[in-house]
Symmetry: D2
Subunit: 304 residues, 4 copies
């Protein structure tokens, strides 16, 4: 397996040149665009890595499934579904899914920015600091890595420059979808996006979803139903408006982030984390997707 | 299993009252909205039925996966992908996915009307009659039912009243996505939508996709790759703008038609056909979806 | 005045190079793009011309105000308003003003294709030939030119290639806005667009609108109210999504056509016809608009 | 004339019941919805009033033409046009004129919220307090009323609750259309919307636009060109997506505000101010529009 991963990275390294670093968060521009790393963890907890699998990067949207998970754990499916829908939007990650007259909750998906921002308000906690702490603890538990923390520079950079996310959040407020102070909600969201993870961390988190909520310790952190919920949402909208293509070429639930990470979930079999920060026009890692395509073919990962 | 199916239908019969018959094709209004039938065929070719599983209805959009399949078989993936995209549209089945300036092929999906109409032009054949004959033969082969034929009344009814589909087809022509005579292309499409099938037929067709192109006779009708392609497209867009919800609640690739049929594919395990003509606002069978939700829970069908 | 017109054309001839001939009607491609002609008729029936004022071209959308006029004369304001709205669409001339769910009559304007096609159905006449004949007679009367006729080649060219207009018409039918046979309605519309006029004809027609329905003979052809109705609609939407710019730079009601003509109405003062077939990206004559800007400044034509 | 105005108000008072007070600014809900007042000032400075012409209300969007004017005076047409377009949007006043991919400056109009917010940044001044002071002084000068001031309660109410405007402003920032601190820009905009005026004030301001920049004192405050610019923009977009209807039924440039005021400009002839706070679905005063329709018919005000 380690050899297979090495081969795949070697074949796909060239695709790092097809993409560009995320430009809308200045701090993300400082990364080396040619990095590429991968980690696979199997259901028997065998762990394989290749390339820059230890480099840490900010999770960005790859945290969204965990925001959704915590909202589900704290409030249950009904309340979550009342706030945001589950249909694929067919639109870019930061799109305003807004008709000329209204913003409808069923047009928001938890895997696009508007949905994830809204879901931050459903996390339990007296303050938004507390909400974020609970989120971070859950991430650490899923990754079995208590050292996970935020990248203060990226967090501050996003906080300073996140006009589009502010626009989305105020829009949600204007339509009564969020009731708390926008800056506090965004602070929690920006922190969440800034959580540092390596490919190994992503792979381990993915494995928990693949094993439907069960940790390698045997502990059931969350219900099987929530795992299916989240995996389904990831399949239809996890790669934004590249989800259809990804379903076809890779065939497993996955979530990308503009930090360059992708977390891919092979139900009952394995978790995969990958990192390569050069992004395609839809905000997904170029070399990351190509590597997953190859890996899926080699190991017959597609669930279809 | 037969008992399970009976129980499920009994529990779900009440949902036939939540929906309405398709109104835009006059002939479809003549159906009895309370019918409900189901058929399950397993990978070992065991066949189970309950309720009105013998009633024949027009396939309507449930033929779309087979149009896509034949286009793939005749022209290959590259040519198909050049004509229509694979992203979920997040929009109703008959939507114009049209910005103020242009119609883009990547915004069309094979499972919505515009995409299926366009794909008819890729089927091999000297004439559109020949193209349709080849399509019908493929359907018959997949269902192992050489008696399948079109419902002449529904076909004529659609041909007479299909203004929206005509608008879509002329739009495709205006943007250079189809080059043949619109009325001929539509004739093929209307015939395809009018093919009569029972729940049993749908289940058998679904099983071929579940077994990745292999008939019960052992013959490999089409490549595994095409099966994965189609199953993936069905997962993300097979139930129109209800696909996200369906992925979550049922968790298998499926295709509905406004005739009331749903064909559901449980990869490697089974094919399911269901019929109940009362539709929800998105054009999907109400009682059909509910029955599939129950069945999925009972048999743990979700692939997530 | 003749000298002024000569000077203006001389200054503006260079702008014929900024535009392109309409490409979507093949026959229109055969024109000489450098032609430029103008005609001004005053309220005292003094007639001034310069340049290629005698060249005949097809009226195209410049016929739309007269379609609207005849519909108003035949059916009255209430019935016309029930069919199409009067708000500016802010969109291109051939846009589908169509939300994901519906086409609303209040989103259609008589000066865009969809609106003009719909209004053809309100013209009185047993057959569509008769409807068109009545329209042609009205145009001839307004222009005081009984020799006006259609350009058979352009008419046939549009009939053969008008996919976008067919799409619009079938869409109107699908939403119950037109009830007659689409091909017949379109035949009338295509003929109307193909009526040949010179700048002189356009100027004379414009003068009737400027004089609120009164011919130079003194005959009141239509009510003052209809003149105001049409002039107002022209001001807000006569130049498509270039109407705001035109209101600002020229400041009078006007209608352009992709044949290269513009008809401008200076209320109570004069009618202007201009011809130059090279169009800007919005379908308006480049040199025509520039000439009108100059003329408006020189003669202080703006009504604002 | 006074008698005519009394008659008109009497006829139109019933329409106050057709509308509703603006709901999105809580403070505006405290108004008496049945108030109705009008003022007409002629080019010879004769002033006529009827009804509640002395009641002061917040100008809201009726301040937009003056924001545009000051931006033109401070920066010139070129710079203003570089920031916001002049095409009618065909959309509600607070619409996001935003495609899935981008916000384009040519799709913003100075008479909708996004455009007016953007134009605040072009007003000269070291600070936003200074910018607003200069705007207020200009309003006072145009109305010849140095006592004009803001309604502190409405200003604070808008500042507290203006989520939609915050969303619009952050969107403008995200697309590089505004560069200053959003809260400062909005503070200026909210203050501008909260300026108190009576029908008499609006009529006097309108008269200055009607007389193309000339005060009753003879002073030319701004150039004729700017008056034509603003009048043209008001004609095509001053009443939002009710502008077409208004052009047809009243036929003069005008601007409404959700405070209930309408300022109507009859070029070269008169200025009209009207107040009635019950609004139609587009945000325009119901009885105000009806009164202007009657007045236009009686005095033949339409410029068409």
């Amino acid at each position: 397996m380690n050899q297979l991963l090495e081969n795949i990275l070697e074949n796909c390294r060239k695709y790092t040149k097809d993409g560009k670093l995320a430009s809308y968060i200045p701090e993300l521009q400082k990364t080396d665009p040619e990095k590429l790393g991968i980690c696979v963890v199997t259901d028997e907890n065998a762990l394989y890595t290749a390339g820059d699998s230890d480099i840490r990067f900010t999770m960005q949207s790859a945290i969204k499934p965990i925001i959704l998970l915590l909202a589900l754990m704290d409030r249950g499916e009904e309340e979550v579904r009342k706030l945001v829908g589950v249909e694929s939007t067919g639109k870019p990650f930061d799109a305003f899914n807004y008709s000329d007259q209204a913003l409808k909750r069923e047009h928001i998906n938890p895997m696009i920015n508007a949905g994830a921002i809204a879901l931050c308000t459903l996390i339990d906690g007296e303050t938004y600091d507390e909400k974020f702490d609970r989120l971070l603890k859950l991430v650490q538990k899923l990754a079995n890595n208590p050292k996970m923390e935020i990248d203060e520079n990226v967090y501050q950079s996003e906080k300073r420059t996140g006009s589009k996310n502010r626009a989305l959040a105020y829009m949600l407020q204007a339509y009564g979808l969020i009731h708390d102070q926008v800056e506090q909600v965004l602070d929690c969201y920006f922190k969440a996006c800034s959580v540092l993870a390596s490919s190994v961390d992503l792979a381990k988190i993915a494995l928990v979803f693949a094993k439907k909520g069960k940790l390698s310790s045997g502990e059931q952190v969350f219900s099987k139903e929530y795992a299916k919920y989240i995996n389904a949402v990831l399949m239809t909208c996890g790669m934004y408006d590249g989800s259809g293509e990804f379903a076809l070429n890779v065939g497993v639930p996955a979530k990308s982030g503009v930090g360059g990470g992708i977390m891919a979930i092979v139900p009952n079999r394995m978790g995969i984390g990958i990192y390569s920060p050069a992004l395609d026009s839809k905000g997904n890692s170029c070399a990351g997707i190509k590597s997953l395509e190859l890996l899926s073919k080699e190991l017959d990962l597609s669930i279809f």
